[in-house]
């Protein structure tokens, strides 16, 4: 099939930032996740948990609360004292409103979805009305002594519970006055702590308020009388988050020890109508603080400092035992952070606030499968490029020739020209960017590095001619009238004639770069595109979707290729469809037109279109080389999917030349090593 030299790269020092909030939207089955660096990501749980959209972070914007309101609108509030609304179509921040109450610690949307409540540092609880295009301040509730760390509405919308330091207040929404103040015990395992912080509250329709606090307790309060009903001590450390199921028959809490506890309302005895809350299941999927939890109808969702987003399906709620019933742990972003210059063997790594440029090493030795070859030259760190300003980098790209680097933040677009003189490298910024090139969602260079394609957040695609040290704006493909959907994936053919662009939900558009017009639109498909590329010579567009389907579409013929139709007719191998990470990169072999190279986080695959497709009975992945099998057997068992699982977690893999691959791995242990130490727990025998 093929022998490759693989540059196995592990020096991409990427650490995802910790998860701060998650918000589940039942209507669209989407999950919004905010991270400690201010990034907000939207996952589509129906589309195989694909990370559909993302909003870059900002240094001064620490999100403390995230919620969905009025159906599909996403709001966040943070320590900069602002409420923000996100534009889920254009993928930018619609507006930010200062609430004038100091840092915001908590936010809750009313059961009707039309009102927003925020709890501030100064002890104030502020009510906002959500209008169709903005939010409007309505009034303040009775001001409390200390910061409001958690808020919850009664399902009827008449009362709210607010957790503060050492006490929980119950407010009447109509009057805005506190009707009860429930003091939380400071005692922690018999020792009086200085303060007891109520990290989370939940108001149930029967008037029960559930609180979780820094003393490790889950407590049930009667809001009518303001009395403590029941207390569960569940952890030695803080209980930091709580989420209640919509039916109010179960809830989930997360602790600083990394444990997630599931509580359920179960009958006291069988067939009795009297029910009580019982702690049923503990889950330990995290090593660090579980900062936030969510409860979807079928799963418990948790996230925290250890950067994993864990989706744990509740087996009793899962009707069909398919692959959705499996535990999901999402650690890496579903987009590309690495680009590569094939000609100069360079890798460009994108971090939140800087870029790194590395030159790969080389070897003269040869070997057989599995050998590690001695290096004649090690990899070099050529460049460390820091961004200016507090904004995170959205996207970056290095040109195939290696002489251009482009990246973009929310407000600025940067283009650099690189000059190589022997071992020295000089960098020159191309100044005077045109005003329309402000915020790019995706940047791509053409194969010959003469053209730059930029997908702006306004939905437009810009083509820029690069020559020498200057550039010239050639054309802008405007989005079809009426849509403002941002394009987040681009692909260009190697001859530079075709440009394919895909948005978050709508189909893939193919533009003719020569004639500067829309060539065709690939038939729409239900699942979002995770990666696409145009094959050289044939100009077939290969598209991978989040449901693990791969299509091949002939651009010149404007139709799916025969191979793609065959694949669809026969269907993919069931193990292929059960993979749980999306394909993030597709590339092609310059000399073998029948090969498609693609990878996800846990495997790398070459699809040989000339070979028969595997059916469900054949072995999809066979790690062992054929030893002494006869040729007949080998020919019979050979199939189109050649898979390697040696490199994982695999963030990037590409073909440098015919015989050379580059694989960028990011071992989880290296990430854990860079996290703050978890709470030390005494283990037996240590």
């Amino acid at each position: 099939m093929g022998e490759f030299k693989v540059h196995r790269v592990r020096f991409f020092n990427y650490v995802p930032s910790g998860i701060r909030c998650v918000a589940y939207n039942n209507q669209s089955n989407r999950l919004a996740v905010s991270r400690t660096d201010g990034t907000v990501e939207v996952y589509n749980l129906s589309a195989n948990y694909f990370q559909e959209k993302f909003f870059p972070g900002h240094e001064s914007r620490a999100t403390e609360a995230l919620c969905w309101a009025e159906g599909q609108r996403l709001f966040s509030a943070g320590l900069n004292g602002e409420i923000m609304e996100y534009d889920l179509q254009a993928l930018n921040i619609k507006y930010a409103v200062d609430v004038f109450g100091g840092p915001i610690w908590s936010m809750a949307v009313s059961p009707s979805g039309s009102q927003l409540l925020v709890g501030c540092e100064d002890g104030s609880v502020k009510l906002f009305q959500i209008t169709p295009d903005k939010i409007q301040f309505e009034r303040n509730f009775d001001r409390q002594k200390s910061r409001i760390l958690s808020l919850s509405w009664h399902p009827s919308g008449t009362h709210i519970a607010a957790g503060s330091i050492d006490y929980i207040s119950v407010f009447d929404v109509k009057s805005g006055s506190a009707i009860h103040k429930m003091i939380v015990d400071r005692q922690h395992m018999g020792v009086s702590k200085r303060k007891c912080i109520v990290w989370g509250v939940a108001f149930l329709s029967d008037g029960t308020v559930i609180s979780v606090d820094s003393a490790g307790k889950v407590q049930f309060w009667d809001s009518a009388t303001g009395t403590l009903v029941k207390s569960h001590l569940i952890a030695n450390a803080d209980v930091q988050s709580i989420a209640v199921a919509e039916q109010e028959d179960s809830f989930v809490v997360g602790t600083a020890e990394g444990t997630v506890f599931h509580f359920q309302l179960v009958p006291v005895t069988s067939n009795s109508s009297e029910k009580q809350w019982v702690r049923t299941k503990p889950f330990q999927h995290h090593t660090h603080d579980v900062r936030t939890v969510a409860h979807s109808p079928t799963a418990l969702i948790s996230g925290g400092t250890d950067t994993h987003l864990v989706i744990r399906p509740l087996m009793e709620k899962v009707e069909v035992k398919n692959y959705d019933a499996a535990l999901r742990k999402i650690t890496f972003p579903h987009r590309r952070l690495i680009s590569c210059s094939k000609k100069r063997q360079l890798l460009l790594f994108q971090f939140a606030h800087h870029l790194e440029l590395w030159r790969l090493g080389s070897t003269v030795a040869t070997g057989k499968n599995g050998d590690t070859l001695p290096l004649s030259k090690n990899a070099d760190h050529l460049l460390h490029l820091k961004t200016k300003g507090p904004e995170n980098i959205i996207c970056s790209c290095i040109s195939p020739c290696g002489s251009w680097i482009a990246y973009s933040t929310v407000s600025r677009f940067f283009l650099y020209r690189l000059n190589y003189e022997h071992d020295n490298i000089s960098l020159k910024r191309v100044s005077k960017m045109p005003p329309f090139l402000r915020c790019a969602l995706q940047i791509l260079f053409s194969e010959d590095s003469t053209k730059l394609f930029v997908a702006s957040n306004q939905g437009a695609l810009h083509i820029v001619q690069l020559s020498g040290g200057s550039f010239k704006h050639l054309h802008a493909f405007q989005p079809q009238s009426g849509t403002v959907e941002a394009m987040c994936l681009l692909a260009v053919s190697s001859d530079g004639n075709w440009l394919a662009a895909s948005g978050t939900s709508a189909g893939v558009h193919v533009y003719n770069v020569k004639q500067l017009k829309l060539h065709c639109t690939v038939p729409a498909y239900n699942f979002p595109v995770t990666a696409m590329a145009i094959a050289p010579n044939t100009n077939n567009l290969v598209i991978a979707h989040s449901d693990q389907q791969v299509f091949e579409y002939s651009i010149p013929d404007k139709q799916y290729t025969d191979w793609s139709r065959t694949v669809q007719k026969q269907g993919f191998h069931h193990l292929w469809l059960q993979r749980d990470t999306p394909i993030t990169h597709i590339s092609f072999h310059p000399k073998r037109p029948m090969h498609i190279l693609l990878h996800d986080a846990y495997m790398f695959c070459i699809i040989d279109k000339s070979l028969p497709l595997p059916n469900d009975k054949t072995l999809l992945y066979n790690p062992f080389p054929p030893t002494n099998e006869s040729d007949v057997v080998r020919r019979r068992t050979a199939h189109a999917f050649k898979i390697s699982k040696i490199y994982k977690p695999l963030l990037f893999m590409d073909l440098l030349d015919e015989r050379t691959l580059v694989a960028v791995e990011r071992p989880l242990d290296d990430i854990i090593a860079q996290l703050p130490p978890p709470i030390k727990k005494k283990k037996f025998g240590t």
Binding site: K5, L375, P625
Partner: protein
């Protein structure tokens, strides 16, 4: 945990109880119905669950009932004695006691005793005993005098022991107590004198007794408030001689010594007794339940209105006179379980639950099976009624088998069992096998001569039995010294307790070689060692010649010298099996059995020293055989493993070290064992060194896999 439930009074009608209270409460032929005889003229039949009387009978004015009414379980008639000598027998349909059967006896009756399964007995005041049938055949027959003058019967009880009626009665004469035990099958009357011990002047207030297998345990409550136990053998050693019995203190100061109304006690089960009386001199009377095993008070109930100092216990009910009315307190002693202790929710059981079969068959849904069977049965009954055939109705083979077990000869049973096993396995196969074994064992127990060995072997070989299903099986096999059956049990049962394993070991070690010859034990695990002895000898010799290895170079040279005196013996001893192959097979079964060290060790200490030595010798021999080849295994189909051998050597030495060390004949064995272990240790320490080097190699290999931050590798896709 023993518990007294809520009390209830049987009737609001005040009984005409005299100062001595009631005459008696006796069981009737229906479980829920009891005969209450008051001290006047009336006998009332009560249904306890309904708390109401079903019938009442009185003797004529002027007559007085002198002996409580009892039920003849065989004829379902009631018997009462009035005016000491007049016997009346009636049944439920009779209304007037005057018109029922009457027999006037020649001597005064003390009591009529009746238990289920046998004819009632009549105990006369002079100590003579007659069966009711014999007495009614000639009511005026002469009744002899058994006890001496001024001797008065105080208490009596009637038991069935191994299907034989046994009567015990206690008499008193001038503060001395005597116990008479009458065996009815042998007509032997044994007299015992009860010695009161230090408390010579105490008066026994109340008696109760329970029956063990060999003893009647007679418990007496003395006026000093303590309960004493006296064990009376059922089968007397020498019936002619007058024997004395010593009582031992069971519980101290249960009730206060000087109560007004007297005290009473009754045995509830093996471990529990109920005591009626006031705990302290001043306090009110109490009914308390004591656990005699742990000497703890389990529960107690205050009876503020006072009692007559009488207590009866039938079924699960305690009867007493509380104030003026007859009170029933149900008593329950449930098996305490861990689930109960942990507070597992008790599921409400509907009161009308039918009795579940003892052996649950997991392969058929219980409910459906029952329903089906019931309908089948009723249909069959209908059919039978219609046709009115006298032929035996068609019964399933399992039922037929069970009925066979109860009656037929061993030979016939064997044929039937074989027939049943040859049948295709029915869904209730497990249950039938379980029931069959229990039936067989019950019969074994009852009839000492009955021992259906072949049947039992066949049943064990069905692989569905376990120790806990039929603990009696191994017990009987142990009594019979049936080593073949024991070996089979050891091989088949997964759950044999350590004590039983040890008992088997004792028998295996002690049984004579000649008796072993007759048995037919499975020799599967024993390899014929004799043919390898020759080769072994040769090998050993060449070894010595070749490299001059001599174990004498060890530090314990003085021991070796002693050993060298008989080098011939030593080789012989170590290379020939110390036990005959059949015994070896039995011992191998022990080696294969599962055990827990903690529970086994105490039992191992009971084995005689020479048997320990024999077993050790055998283990040593096995160990030598093991170490002959590189894989450290023994030849044969299912031989003991090296670990099993080692574990047992350790266990035996642990349990009996002091004993073995003191034995001169074990010295050689111990020294040999020590030397062997020592040489093995040196071998293993060398192996250890090699292992360390290999581990280093593996570490190097791992380092190769764990690459640095950057490497270039070759990948070939197939």
């Amino acid at each position: 945990m023993a518990a007294l439930e809520e009390e209830f009074t049987l009737s609001s009608v005040v009984l005409s109880a005299g100062p001595e209270g009631l005459l008696g409460v006796e069981q009737s032929d229906k479980t829920d119905q009891f005969l209450v005889t008051d001290s006047g003229r009336t006998v009332i039949l009560y249904k306890v669950s309904d708390q109401k009387p079903l019938g009442s009978w009185s003797v004529k004015q002027g007559q007085i009932i002198t002996c409580p009414a009892v039920c003849n379980f065989q004829t379902r008639e009631y018997i009462v004695v009035h005016d000491n000598k007049v016997l009346r027998i009636w049944n439920n349909e009779d209304v007037n006691l005057d018109k029922v059967f009457k027999a006037t006896l020649s001597a005064e009756v003390y009591r009529i005793l009746s238990v289920q399964g046998t004819e009632p007995l009549v105990l006369f005041k002079e100590g003579a005993v007659r069966g009711l049938e014999a007495l009614l055949a000639d009511p005026q027959q002469k009744i002899e005098t058994v006890i001496s003058d001024e001797e008065v019967i105080k208490w009596t009880k009637f038991f069935i022991v191994f299907r034989h009626p046994v009567l015990i009665f206690i008499t008193e004469k001038h503060g001395n107590y005597f116990a008479y035990v009458q065996m009815f099958n042998s007509r032997i009357l044994t007299k015992y004198t009860l010695l009161l011990g230090q408390d010579e002047n105490s008066v026994i207030e109340s008696f109760t007794a329970s029956v063990d297998r060999k003893f009647i345990s007679l418990m007496s409550l003395s006026s000093d408030g303590c309960i004493y136990e006296t064990l009376i053998p059922i089968r007397p050693t020498d019936p002619e001689k007058n024997q004395t019995l010593v009582r031992s203190l069971l519980l101290k100061a249960v009730v206060s010594g000087n109560t007004r109304n007297g005290v009473a006690l009754t045995a509830l089960d093996q471990d529990h007794i109920a005591v009626l009386g006031s705990p302290q001199a001043a306090s009110k009377e109490c009914l308390s339940v004591w656990n005699i095993k742990f000497q703890t008070l389990q529960t107690s109930k205050e009876l503020p209105q006072g009692t007559s100092g009488q207590l009866w216990y039938y079924g699960e009910n305690l009867f007493m006179l509380h104030g003026k009315s007859l009170t029933v307190i149900p008593y329950k002693c449930e098996v305490s379980s861990l689930a109960g202790a942990l507070g597992k929710l008790k599921h409400g059981q509907d009161p009308g639950t039918h009795v579940m079969p003892r052996f649950v068959n997991w392969e058929t849904p219980q409910g459906c099976g029952l329903g089906f069977q019931n309908s089948e049965q009723s249909r069959r009954i209908l059919r039978r009624r219609k046709i009115e055939v006298s032929l035996q109705p068609e019964v399933p083979p399992s039922k037929q088998l069970l009925s066979t077990i109860m009656e037929d000869s061993e030979k016939h049973i064997e044929v039937e069992v074989r027939k049943f096993l040859a049948l295709k396995q029915t869904p209730d196969f497990h249950t039938v096998i379980g029931d069959t074994v229990t039936g067989l064992l019950e019969r074994c127990k009852a009839e000492p001569s009955f021992y259906p060995r072949n049947c039992l072997v066949q049943l064990i070989q069905t692989h569905v039995l376990s120790y806990s299903l039929c603990p009696d099986l191994m017990e009987i096999a142990l009594i019979k010294k049936d080593v073949q059956l024991l070996q089979l049990c050891l091989q088949q049962f997964p759950d044999i307790p350590e004590s039983v394993t040890c008992a088997c070991l004792k028998i295996f070690l002690s049984i004579g070689d000649d008796s072993l010859q007759e048995t037919d034990v499975s020799m599967e695990s024993v390899f014929d060692y004799s043919n390898s002895v020759h080769d072994e000898k040769m090998e050993e010799q060449t070894e010595i010649l070749q490299n001059g290895f001599s174990p004498e170079e060890d530090k314990c040279s003085n021991c070796d010298q002693e050993l060298n005196k008989k080098p011939q013996d030593e080789t012989k001893e170590s290379t020939s099996c110390p036990v005959v192959p059949k015994r070896a097979a039995l011992l191998n079964a022990i080696l294969h059995s599962a055990y827990s060290e903690t529970f086994l060790l105490p039992h191992l200490k009971d084995i005689p020293a020479q048997h320990i030595t024999l077993f050790l010798k055998y283990l040593y021999f096995l160990y030598l055989k093991c170490s002959e080849n590189a894989t450290m295994t023994l030849p044969g189909i299912n031989p003991p493993t090296l670990n099993q051998i080692m574990d047992w050597i350790c266990l035996l030495l642990d349990a009996n070290f002091t004993v073995v060390v003191m034995m001169p004949e074990a010295k050689r064995l111990l020294i040999n064992l020590y030397k062997l272990v020592k040489s093995q240790i040196s071998v293993y320490s060398e192996l250890n060194k090699i292992e360390v080097s290999f581990r280093e190699l593996q570490k190097l290999n791992q380092e190769k896999n764990n690459r640095g931050l950057y490497s270039i590798e070759v990948l070939e896709l197939f």
